[in-house]
Every structure is written in structure tokens, then in C-alpha cells.
């Protein structure tokens, strides 16, 4: 008998349909992977099961847990089921916990709210649960506050809360998307172990095919509110029956068509870069400490070359980037672009700044929402002594937008009218418009769906071929690095621990840390 059975689930929000006849099934002790791109309805499916849909939603169809239909239950009855029979884990561990209450208290609340135990007993259970998810009492006492833990540790606390009462069904909505690869591997191992030990059913929702490929027994592929394909994992992966499934798989392991960068003369040269931060005083009259975020880093990028920089959060990637752009002062070493020194502050000449442009992870956050696209993409013109005007300016905008696959008419629209992938194209157009020699891409494709990511990678490869651009790719995503870089640097705790040609590093990693990273990265097993 199945643990969860969803039949013909239709959901609409303010009259707009978001789920269309979704049917799914899950047996106890099994893992169901729900895969889809943003807007496919996978999170809405999870929230429907929990009956936590946003205000203004309408629902029809049936959701049965152990044969009991949940859709007819009152809010009070659903409160009893949430947390006790169904646990849920969310994507963003940094904000999923109440910052003002201790972790032990928050885990104990699950127990106490369902009348499972008194205060003392609940605290004891909470301690045990935290221990079970890999947060031992000696190192992580339950009296800790969330801000004292890292993202991965916080996700473990959220898991402890979700499994405190050993629910029969656990829903994990993108549980590892915000985490580093090694942390992701740890969380996935933990979830698998819990399914095995408690015999609960797990719904693993993700956009990352590689995450589910080794972990799910069954797969459901969702698109535009519909389940387009479902079945046992190996069968779905082997057959790739539905064209969308096939497209999704191809996009996930997409290799843009690019000729290996011809190595020209060095464009950017960094020598022995050191960046220290001053830490708060120890005690009222104590001295300031220093934290060395970048330690003696040297590297170079040649004209037309694409270099990858990988490392986990907090390793110093962003600090290094900011220092290269002249946004942070260095305490030692130097950065030269085309032979000219880069210095922080106002001293940096405009023409030097015009040689480097940057594209960030969140395209929406880096645009002024009140300006039209035409004005947005011409922002870097202030770096030119003689910015084009009139028809010339219009021509520059047209070319920049056409280059990134948009239409010249898009210049008159506002940024909110575009999708995430289009916004990233506009960000690239903005970087491109003054013909820089180096574009720094700071997690520029991390937030994009796989199919959009594949398109953007193709675009970047094409532009590099056409204009001889150099790229510095900063990312935690190893597949991206593998797809588009000539060389790769691996950064750990402020140091470059390994550097080499991309295919060589991936095939034969020398440093222990590189091996750990590669081993932790989920691999998409293509049976076809």
C-alpha cells in the first residue's frame, strides 16, 4: 500500500492555474524525486500536501496519506498532521530558523506542540535528535543560537525539527541548493540514512538532476504544472521517453561548442596578492586581530582565455574578485591589467576599469528597476571619454542586445518584464557594450535553470570566440567550470591549492581538497 497518493491535483492561485492534474505515488521507505525548472509547480505540490499554499489558492483532487484524504481536513486537523506525520525541509537554511531562539528550543517545540512530552523530556529528545543529525552535544550544545552555526549545520537543525517525531513522510524542497558541494553530500547522506533507519517516505524536490540521480527510487519530471513523466528512476533515466525529459538531461550535461582558448599574451597578472581584514577587538581594551582572507595568491589570465575559480563559501573567492576589480585594497602583492597596475579607490583610471566588467549571480538585484533596459545596458558608458550619442548610442544598444540574443526593441522595456535568463543576458549585454577584454562572472549562472544555463553558456562561448574575450568564472558549480574553462584554480581558506588545465585537474586531481570536492559533487549517471 502506498504511503502517499496524489490524484488529479489541480491548484490555482488567484484564478491562475499552477498545478494541472498532478498524480503521484510514494511507498514507505522509498524516495521520490520531483524534478523541474522554476515555475514547474514542484514546490506548489509540496505546499499542497502540507496545506500551506499561499492565500487566495484553490485546490481540487485528492491527497491521501496512508489512505486518509487530507484535502477534507480542517486547519486544526492539519496542524496535528504537520510536524507529526509529515515533516518538511526548506531550501534556505540561513533564514529557516528563528534567530531569537536556541536550536534546542526550536527542535523541542516540534515535540511539545504535538503534546509528545513535557518541557524536560522534549529538551532531551531535541538533544538526541540534534545528535542524530550530526550535531553532537559536546560541539553543538542545544543552547546555541542559529547565527552561531554555518548553513549546513543550520540545515541539520531544520532536519532535526522535521524528523523529531519520526514522521512517515518527509518533504525536502531543494534541501541542498544553497549549500556547498561537500556540505550537500553530507546532507544527502543523512537524508538517505534517515529513510533507511525510520522507513519513512521521502520526497526530494530539486532542479538538479544529479542530486536525485543517485538518491531517488522514483522520479517525476514536472513542467508547467504537469507531471510529464514518472516512473522508477532507472527506467526514466534509461528511456528518456518524453522530449522534455530528454532536453532536461541534455541541458544538465551540456558542453558548449567552443574551441579551446588560444593562449595569447597575459591580460591579467596577479602576484602574491594578500588581503587582510581587521577583526573586532578582543575585550574592551584588547588589540584588533586580523583575518587573512587572501593568502599569497598569484595567477594570470591570457587574452582569450577562460579561467575557473572554484571553492566553497568563505574560501575568499569574492574577496579576491573584489580586489581584482580594485574595490578592495591589498595588503601585499599586485594586480596588473594589460601592464597597468590596479589600485583600490579613486586612483583607478577609467580606461583601465573599462577593460574589466563583471556579471553577478542575481541579475535582478544589480539593475535599477526604474530604468529602461536601454539605459541600463549603457551604464558603463561613463567610463568612456567620448561616449557614443544619438544614433551611434542607439546602434551600440542594438548590437549589444542582438549579441546576447535579445531584440533591439527590448531596450524600451523595464527589467521586471524579463525572465531570469533574459535578465542575465541583459547583464552580459551591459558588460559587453564597452567591449571589455575581461569579464568576471561571479556565480553568474548558478541561479539559472539547467536549460537556461545551457543557453547562457553557449552564448558566452560564442561571444568569447567572436570578440576574443577572457573570462574569469567564479563558481561553486564544478559542472560549469568543466563546461567552459580552459584552466581552473581551486581555492581553499584563502589559498590557491591547485591550478592546472581543466581536463587534467578533473581527471587527475593532485591536492587532497580538490579530490574531496570532486568526490562530493553529485554525478549525473547517464544510462542512455
Amino acid at each position: 500500500m502506498s504511503l502517499l497518493r496524489i490524484r488529479d491535483l489541480d491548484v490555482s492561485i488567484h484564478g491562475k492555474p499552477v498545478l494541472d492534474r498532478v498524480s503521484l505515488e510514494l511507498a514507505p521507505g522509498h524516495v521520490l524525486g520531483i524534478i523541474g525548472e522554476s515555475g514547474s509547480g514542484k514546490s506548489m505540490t509540496a505546499l499542497s500536501i502540507m496545506d500551506l499554499l499561499p492565500d487566495g489558492s484553490g485546490m481540487s483532487g485528492s491527497i491521501e496519506l496512508d489512505g486518509n484524504d487530507l484535502t477534507g481536513l480542517s486547519e486544526r486537523q492539519m496542524c496535528d498532521i504537520r510536524g507529526r506525520d509529515i515533516g518538511m525541509i526548506f531550501q534556505e537554511p540561513m533564514t529557516a530558523l528563528n534567530p531569537l531562539r536556541t536550536i534546542g528550543d526550536q527542535v523541542a517545540e516540534t515535540v511539545r506542540i504535538h503534546g509528545g512530552a513535557g518541557r524536560g523530556e522534549a529538551a532531551r529528545i531535541a538533544g538526541d535528535m540534534l545528535e542524530r543529525v550530526g550535531l553532537p552535544r559536546e560541539k553543538f550544545p542545544p543552547t546555541r543560537y542559529p547565527h552561531e552555526l554555518s548553513g549546513g549545520q543550520r540545515q541539520r537543525v531544520v532536519i532535526a525539527m522535521a524528523i523529531a517525531l519520526q514522521p512517515r513522510l518527509l518533504i525536502a524542497d531543494e534541501p541542498t541548493t544553497a549549500l556547498d558541494v561537500t556540505t550537500q553530500a553530507g546532507i544527502l547522506r543523512l537524508l538517505r540514512r534517515l529513510v533507511l533507519e525510520d522507513g519513512m517516505g521521502l520526497i526530494l524536490i530539486t532542479h538538479d538532476l544529479a542530486v536525485v540521480s543517485g538518491n531517488a527510487d522514483h522520479l517525476a519530471i514536472m513542467r508547467q504544472g504537469q507531471v510529464v513523466e514518472a516512473g522508477p528512476s532507472d527506467k526514466v533515466m534509461r528511456a528518456l521517453r518524453h522530449p522534455y525529459t530528454r532536453a532536461l538531461f541534455e541541458a544538465s550535461s551540456h558542453q558548449p561548442d567552443r574551441t579551446a582558448g588560444h593562449v595569447g599574451t597575459p591580460l591579467l597578472e596577479a602576484r602574491n596578492m594578500v588581503r587582510d581584514y581587521v577583526t573586532p577587538r578582543k575585550g574592551l581594551f584588547g588589540a584588533h586581530g586580523t583575518f587573512r582572507a587572501v593568502r599569497d595568491v598569484s595567477f594570470s589570465i591570457s587574452h582569450g582565455e577562460s579561467l575557473g575559480l572554484v571553492g566553497e563559501s568563505g574560501c575568499g573567492k569574492s574577496t579576491l574578485t573584489r580586489a581584482i576589480l580594485g574595490l578592495e585594497p591589498l595588503q601585499g602583492g599586485s594586480v596588473h591589467v594589460d601592464g597597468h597596475p590596479v589600485e583600490a579607490g579613486q586612483k583607478m583610471p577609467k580606461d583601465l576599469r573599462a577593460k574589466m566588467q563583471v556579471v553577478f549571480q542575481d541579475p535582478y538585484g544589480s539593475f535599477n528597476p526604474r530604468h529602461r533596459v536601454g539605459r541600463l545596458v549603457t551604464e558603463p558608458f561613463h567610463l568612456l571619454d567620448n561616449p557614443p550619442k544619438g544614433a551611434e548610442r542607439k546602434a551600440a544598444i542594438d548590437t549589444a542586445l542582438t549579441d546576447v540574443g535579445l531584440h533591439p526593441d527590448d531596450a524600451d522595456r523595464y527589467i521586471h518584464e524579463f525572465s531570469g535568463g533574459q535578465r542575465q543576458r541583459i547583464a552580459i549585454a551591459r558588460a559587453l557594450i564597452i567591449r571589455p577584454q575581461l569579464i568576471i562572472l561571479d556565480e553568474a549562472v548558478s541561479a539559472l535553470d539547467v536549460s537556461i544555463r545551457a543557453q547562457i553558456l553557449d552564448l558566452l562561448a560564442d561571444l568569447s570566440g567572436r570578440y576574443g574575450l577572457s573570462y574569469l568564472f567564479i563558481t561553486h558549480d564544478l559542472t560549469v567550470v568543466q563546461a567552459i574553462t580552459d584552466r581552473v584554480m581551486v581555492m581553499q581558506a584563502g589559498e590557491i591549492v591547485e591550478t592546472g588545465r581543466t581536463e587534467e585537474v578533473f581527471a587527475n586531481p593532485q591536492h587532497e581538497y580538490t579530490r574531496t570536492l570532486l568526490a562530493a559533487a553529485p554525478v549525473l549517471e547517464m544510462s542512455a
Binding site: 496542524c79 533564514t95 528563528n98 506542540i113
Partner: protein, 315 residues
């Protein structure tokens, strides 16, 4: 936490020194000679000069600042130019009215605003919420002196429950004193309560949209339980800020209400002193208000740290 408190205390001391310098020298710039003003138009220059010497006005400004500042520390605020009585005594008399009035109004404002704000937030978008929003809008828009006159008309002249104004002094008994302050406190509290209730409501609604509320709901808490157990304390930070600002305002900003109700408070004292060029009184009262504001800010900072564990580590 101790580190946090000490660091805040240091900045408190520094703020006071800076404030005293600014206040003293700003008033030095104000035109008008207190001695000439006291003696009238027809006084001879010799008499004015003699009075200036007597008042200590002929010394240099730096010297007079130090005399004044060291005096403040020992509780000697100097002698009023106009009334020739110690300023400390005059302020002491007035603060017995102003401080209780401010605290009374603040207590009323908080007692009204918290339940109203929470009630509106729990009924978001419904008639109750809209009613609260309309009423608080009105509470902010209506000037408090107009409201004060309305209160006098209804409760003093109509129903005769309270007297229309004046203050019998605390010697007449605690209850009599509080009774005299009740109408002024209500008049002062209502606009403040309206602001505070709206801040409470929007802070709560913001917090209810946070991820950790969704997590709490997934644990099995009802919307109401999530609000009381998780959202309320998180919403307190903006509310505490507003309460701190309101107290400072209530202490100094009651001039009009004091006039409507004929209350001998600090506001009327400073108003009279300004019109009579009694600079030493003005300086002392303003300094006192600055001390009050800085101390309240310090208490609000400590309250932040008590509410939010993330702030305790910072200096």
C-alpha cells in the same frame, strides 16, 4: 553582554560631552544680552556692566562653559537670571510634573498600541484590520491640543469627572496628582499609540512573511501560535525604537498640552525662559532633555540586546 553594555556606556559619556559643548556655544551665539534685558531699556551702561559682573557674564566663554559644566556634575545648575533662584530647584519642581506625565502617557500608549497592533495583524485584510488602520490614521492626523480640548469639554465640563486643568501638587496625594495628569496623558498618548500600533502591525506582518514562520507552520503551529511564539519577539526591534523616540518626545514636546491644561511642566518653563533671555535655564533644561534622550537610547540599546542574541557580541 557586559562588553556590549560597557561599549555603549562609553559612547553615552562621549555623546554627553559633545552635547554640552554644542548646547552651550550655540546659545552663546543667540543675540540678546540677559543683563540688558533684565534691567530694561533705560538702564545705564554702568548698571548693566555691574549686573554682568555679578552674573559672571563678563568672563570668557570657555571659562564660563567649564564653570557651567562642572556645576552640572555637582548638581549646581547656576542661578536663574530672571527669578534669581537656583535653576536646579526650578527644574526639580517642574520635572515632578513632566516626568510622571511622560511615563503615564507612554504607558497608556504602549498598553493601547500592543493589543491593537497585534489584533489588526491577526485579522489582516479583514474589517477589524481596516477599522484599526482608519482609526489610527485619524489618531495621527488630529492635533493633540484639539483632542485635549475635546477631552476637557466632555470629561471636565460635561461629565465633571476631572478638573479642566491645573496641578494640585503631589502633596495633595498620589491619586489626586494622577487624576490631574490623566486627561493630559490621554491627549498625549493617543497620537503616539496610533503610530505605535501601526508600527507593531506592520512589523508583525513583515515577520509573518519570514521563512522561519513557514518552518514553524510546517512543525504544526497554527498561524496564531506562530505569531505569538515566533513573530512577536522578532517584531519588537522596530517597536522598541519607536518607543524610545516617543519617550524623548513626550518629555520635551508637551509644551502645548501643558499650556492647554495649565500644568507647571518643563515645556512651559523652557518656553518662558526663552522669551525672557534666561539663557542659563534654557541651557540647563535642554541639557537635561539631552541626557534623558541619551539615557533612553542607551536603555533601548540594552533592550535590543536582551531581545536579540545576535547583538550581544557586538561592541
Amino acid at each position: 553582554m557586559l562588553h556590549f553594555a560597557l561599549a555603549r556606556l562609553t559612547s553615552l559619556g562621549l555623546s554627553l560631552v559633545v552635547a554640552s559643548v554644542v548646547i552651550f556655544f550655540a546659545l552663546e551665539v543667540v543675540p540678546g544680552d540677559p543683563a540688558a534685558y533684565m534691567l530694561g531699556m533705560n538702564a545705564s551702561p554702568e548698571t548693566v556692566a555691574a549686573l554682568r559682573t555679578e552674573l559672571g557674564l563678563d568672563a570668557g566663554p570657555v571659562e564660563r562653559y567649564f564653570t557651567w559644566a562642572t556645576g552640572l556634575l555637582t548638581g549646581d545648575f547656576g542661578i536663574s537670571y530672571t527669578y534669581r533662584t537656583p535653576v536646579a530647584e526650578m527644574i526639580g519642581e517642574r520635572i515632578k510634573v513632566s516626568l510622571p506625565l511622560a511615563l503615564y502617557a507612554l504607558a497608556l500608549s504602549t498598553l493601547i498600541a500592543f493589543p491593537v497592533g497585534i489584533w489588526a495583524a491577526t485579522h489582516r485584510g479583514k474589517a477589524q484590520d481596516m477599522g484599526v488602520m482608519a482609526a489610527t490614521q485619524l489618531g495621527i492626523a488630529v492635533p493633540n491640543f484639539w483632542f485635549a480640548m475635546l477631552l476637557v469639554l466632555v470629561f471636565a465640563i460635561g461629565l465633571r469627572w476631572f478638573s479642566a486643568g491645573g496641578f494640585p501638587g503631589w502633596d495633595a496625594g498620589f491619586f489626586e496628582g494622577m487624576k490631574a495628569l490623566t486627561l493630559p496623558a490621554i491627549a498625549l498618548a493617543l497620537p503616539q499609540a496610533s503610530i505605535l500600533a501601526r508600527v507593531m502591525r506592520s512589523a508583525l506582518l513583515d515577520t509573518m512573511g519570514e521563512d522561519f514562520i513557514r518552518t514553524a507552520r510546517a512543525k504544526g503551529l497554527s498561524r496564531r501560535q506562530a505569531l505569538w511564539r515566533h513573530a512577536l519577539r522578532n517584531a519588537l526591534i522596530p517597536v522598541l525604537t519607536i518607543i524610545g523616540l516617543q519617550f524623548s518626545f513626550l518629555l520635551a514636546g508637551a509644551i502645548i498640552i501643558e499650556n492647554v491644561f495649565f500644568l507647571p511642566g518643563l515645556g512651559r518653563l523652557v518656553f518662558q525662559a526663552i522669551s525672557q533671555r534666561d539663557l542659563i535655564v534654557v541651557e540647563s533644561v535642554v541639557m537635561l532633555l539631552v541626557v534623558a534622550v541619551i539615557v533612553v537610547t542607551f536603555c533601548v540599546d540594552l533592550a535590543y540586546a536582551a531581545v536579540d542574541p545576535r547583538l550581544r557580541r557586538r561592541g
